[in-house]
């Protein structure tokens, strides 16, 4: 029962804040609601016994990515864009197509729902072999060692890319 309440609470927060993210005129408000969504999703992770990922979600997403967003929003003027037209003209077409998309996905999930019930007994995953963090850590450093290293290259590329794009321009470039 608690599970149900938690799911619906977090789920409702996530969806409603998500809708607000894409409907607010002021970008700062959108960013705030994005934060709410991210927290709610972290809550969802907790209900699914994924404590480590929930932590990562809060630290990296909220603490890192969202802050970056807010930085950039502060860096560039927002006043003008608040008063501009916010939506594209063809939003009806977009909405209809998106509706078809969710119907299709839901239909596909619904047809396959037999395999989607939670296991009858829900043993706390953590109990099996130490804590959740330990399990994740073991997987990352053994089976998934290679992608883990590759992810470091990915981050390196991102750093180099961001630096290249925003470092001071040479006189020749101006």
């Amino acid at each position: 029962m608690l599970e149900l309440i938690l799911f619906y609470t977090f789920g409702a927060i996530a969806v409603i804040s998500g809708i607000l993210v894409i409907t607010r005129h002021n970008v700062v408000h959108s960013a705030a609601f994005l934060g709410a969504t991210l927290f709610a999703v972290a809550g969802i992770f907790l209900t699914l016994h994924a404590e480590f990922v929930a932590g990562v979600q809060v630290i990296v997403y909220v603490g890192g990515i969202l802050v970056l967003f807010v930085f950039v929003i502060m860096l560039i003027a927002v006043e003008r864009s608040v008063h501009e037209r916010q939506y594209n003209k063809q939003w009806t077409i977009a909405l209809i197509t998106s509706a078809i998309l969710i119907v299709e996905i839901a239909y596909g999930l619904y047809r396959g729902r037999d395999s989607l019930v939670l296991p009858a007994v829900v043993p706390p995953a953590a109990a099996a072999a130490g804590g959740n963090s330990e399990q994740v850590g073991t997987a990352l450093y053994t089976s998934y060692l290679l992608p883990f290293e590759i992810a470091s290259i990915l981050l390196l590329v991102a750093i180099v890319g961001a630096v290249v794009l925003s470092k001071k321009r040479t006189p020749a470039e101006e």
Binding site: N88, I93, A94, L101, Y107
Partner: protein, 640 residues
């Protein structure tokens, strides 16, 4: 040694293309002419070697390397020399050599001299590859190559917009034909799992009743035959794909002579003759070839009746003569087709070169109504042109008589509608004779229609132009004796020579000697009638055609005219012909419908491109929308 034949011109093209800008004209000429001359000598030597071999050792196959090897699929880079390709290499290098010599004089003052010779040599290389190839794929290499060179040479004077347009048109129309050829090659591989001539022909029996899936009940061999013929029709300018050839006259005249009269346009005929074994198993395709050939022969000839540009008359005449060749092929007489191909190469090259000499002497004027009386100023050109006219008109005993007669005789003996095809051919022959004599008379006889203002100094051409003319004239006179039919006491060498290579289908129901002689007389009569009519119109009553064309526009004047008998004759016989060919065939069918279709396809593609590019609005949202739309469709398809 066979490989030397095409390699020499390629070498010439490479030398002139890369270094030509820095070389002197003499050196460029000697490289270009020399390479083709050497190639000709090698070709003669190879030809003689081949003749000395017994028939069982033919064809001579030389595989140089495996070009493509993929699983069971194999394409060799190999040449094949037999009687058929042997004859072709002699024509290509021989006539090619003469035209190179001619070009040296004709193009002497042109800018881009080296470029011209590089293209021309490259053309000879590709043409020889086409002819010598021992499989369809390599033949296609040559096929595309000659097309490309032709395209470059038509547009050689690219500063003229019409020249560039003509190049483009030639290109687009040939795409349609090439499309057929590619599909044919694919179908051949699909059916026989090989593409070399020997291999395909040896397995023909196995495939005769194999139906092609998407085509329903059409036999696969018929489909292959029709697709190959689509390719041939594009390259050899058959109805309705002939439209590019008259426009191709925008190119330099020697190019018209070499590519658009003697060699490249006959590639289609060669290809059909080469595939004779396939066609003999596909009577349906053969009938289409014959009918299209005959129709093109008379259609193009009737358009030729009213043309006023000296080169365009010859161009329509080429289309018409190619029609004869296909008529002969369609009747199963591949040897006759090749015979006509050979004589046509001589006399048509001769006519074009002589026309070039005239244009050269007239300082660029091509309208025959502005010529006249050139006989006195240009005696040698006149004499050679006369020989060419007599030859093409089919006046015995010149070359055209024997070869055209062989084609017509084959048509007569064809089981399907043979008599009708023959009749069409004979009428076309009288048309041919008429327009050729009209051309001859308007150009060389009568009094000059040009003034000194138009043309400063009408003069005979230099020797480098005249010598090729004389050599070709000699050939046009004697070449026919290679194929004197038995009924006239000859033994038809060429027929026997080509029969093994061309897989001749012997017709059982050959007519009698008397019939053959009668037919011969009739066709000669038709030729003479055409010539006579031209004489009547343009020498005896020069004003007649003028009046005719005026009256063609108003029925009134016919009524009011005093020459009542003449007029009735004119209005019943001549007027419909003039009207038909001038107004309907040329202006409507040719210029409007077929041209329109060609341009229409181009416009359709461009139009849809212009429309579809608006998918690309430049907005990210639209792009995301397209992606989502495609995504939704794909998901729906997967969940079906």
């Amino acid at each position: 040694m066979l490989w030397l034949i095409p390699i020499l011109p390629l070498l010439g093209a490479a030398l002139n293309g890369v270094f030509g800008k820095r070389l002197s004209k003499t050196l460029i000429t000697s490289i270009a002419v020399g390479s083709v001359a050497l190639s000709f000598l090698v070709a003669v030597r190879e030809f003689l070697t081949m003749l000395s071999l017994p028939e069982s050792q033919l064809p001579i196959l030389t595989d140089y390397f495996t070009w493509i090897q993929a699983g069971r699929f194999q394409a060799q880079f190999g040449f094949m020399l037999d009687h058929l390709s042997g004859l072709m290499i002699l024509i290509v290098t021989g006539v090619g050599f003469l035209i190179h010599v001619y070009s040296a004089g004709y193009m002497a003052r042109e800018e881009g001299f080296y470029r011209y010779f590089a293209y021309l040599n490259l053309f000879v290389f590709f043409m020889l590859t086409l002819v010598l190839a021992d499989n369809y794929l390599l033949m296609f290499v040559g096929w595309e190559g000659v097309g490309l060179c032709s395209y470059l040479l038509i547009g050689f004077w690219f500063t003229r917009k019409s020249a560039a347009d003509a190049g483009k048109k030639a290109f687009i129309v040939n795409r349609v034909g090439d499309f057929g050829f590619i599909l044919a090659i694919m179908l051949i591989y699909w059916t026989f799992e090989r593409i070399d001539f020997q291999g395909v022909f040896s397995r023909l029996g196995e495939a005769s009743d194999f139906a092609v899936e998407p085509l329903g009940s059409v036999g696969v061999l018929t489909a292959i035959g029709l697709l190959l013929f689509l390719g041939a029709a594009g390259k050899s300018a058959q109805f309705p794909l002939y439209v590019w050839l008259p426009d191709a006259m925008e190119g330099p005249t020697p190019v018209s002579a070499l590519i658009h009269a003697a060699t490249m346009v006959t590639a289609g005929v060669y290809m059909v003759a080469r595939s004779a074994a396939i066609y003999n198993h596909a009577p349906g395709a053969l009938l289409v070839v014959a009918v299209v050939g005959a129709f093109t022969a008379i259609f193009a000839a009737s358009i030729g009746l009213v043309q006023t540009d000296i080169k365009r008359v010859l161009a329509y005449s080429t289309v018409s003569q190619l029609g004869y060749m296909f008529l002969a092929c369609g009747a199963g007489a591949y040897a006759a087709a090749m015979f006509h191909l050979m004589t046509h190469a001589f006399f048509k090259a001769l006519l074009f070169l002589a026309a070039g000499s005239v244009i050269h002497g007239m300082g660029g004027i091509q309208d025959i109504r502005k010529m006249g009386g050139l006989r006195r100023v240009m005696p040698w050109t006149h004499k050679t042109f006369l020989v060419g006219t007599l030859a093409i008109a089919g006046i015995p005993p010149l070359a055209g008589f024997f070869s055209k007669d062989a084609a017509l005789w084959a048509a007569w003996n064809d089981a399907n509608y043979g008599k009708l095809l023959w009749l069409v051919g004979v009428i076309a022959a009288s048309f041919t004779s008429f327009y050729m004599f009209r051309l001859l008379i308007l150009t060389f006889y009568g009094s000059p229609c040009y003034t000194e203002q138009d043309v400063h100094h009408v003069h005979e051409s230099p020797n480098s132009i005249l010598i090729p003319l004389i050599v070709l004239a000699a050939c046009s006179i004697v070449a026919g004796f290679a194929g004197v039919p038995p009924v006239l006491g000859g033994d038809n060498h060429i027929q026997q020579f080509l029969t093994p290579a061309a897989h001749e289908a012997k017709s059982e129901s050959l007519g009698t000697t008397a019939v053959e002689l009668t037919l011969m007389a009739i066709s000669t009569g038709a030729a003479l009638a055409g010539a006579g009519l031209a004489y009547l119109f343009y020498v005896v009553r020069p004003a007649l055609p003028e009046r005719l064309s005026v009256q063609a526009h108003s029925m009134y004047s016919i009524m009011l005219n005093k020459y009542y008998v003449d007029e009735i004759y004119d209005s019943v016989v001549v007027w419909p012909v003039v009207r038909m060919s001038g107004e309907f065939l040329w202006k409507f069918v040719d210029a409007f419908m077929i041209d329109g279709a060609v341009n229409g396809i181009g416009r359709l593609v461009r139009g849809s491109g212009a429309g579809l590019r608006h998918m690309q609005s430049g907005y990210v949202r639209t792009y995301a929308g397209w992606i989502l739309l495609g995504g939704v469709l794909v998901i729906a398809w997967f969940l079906k």
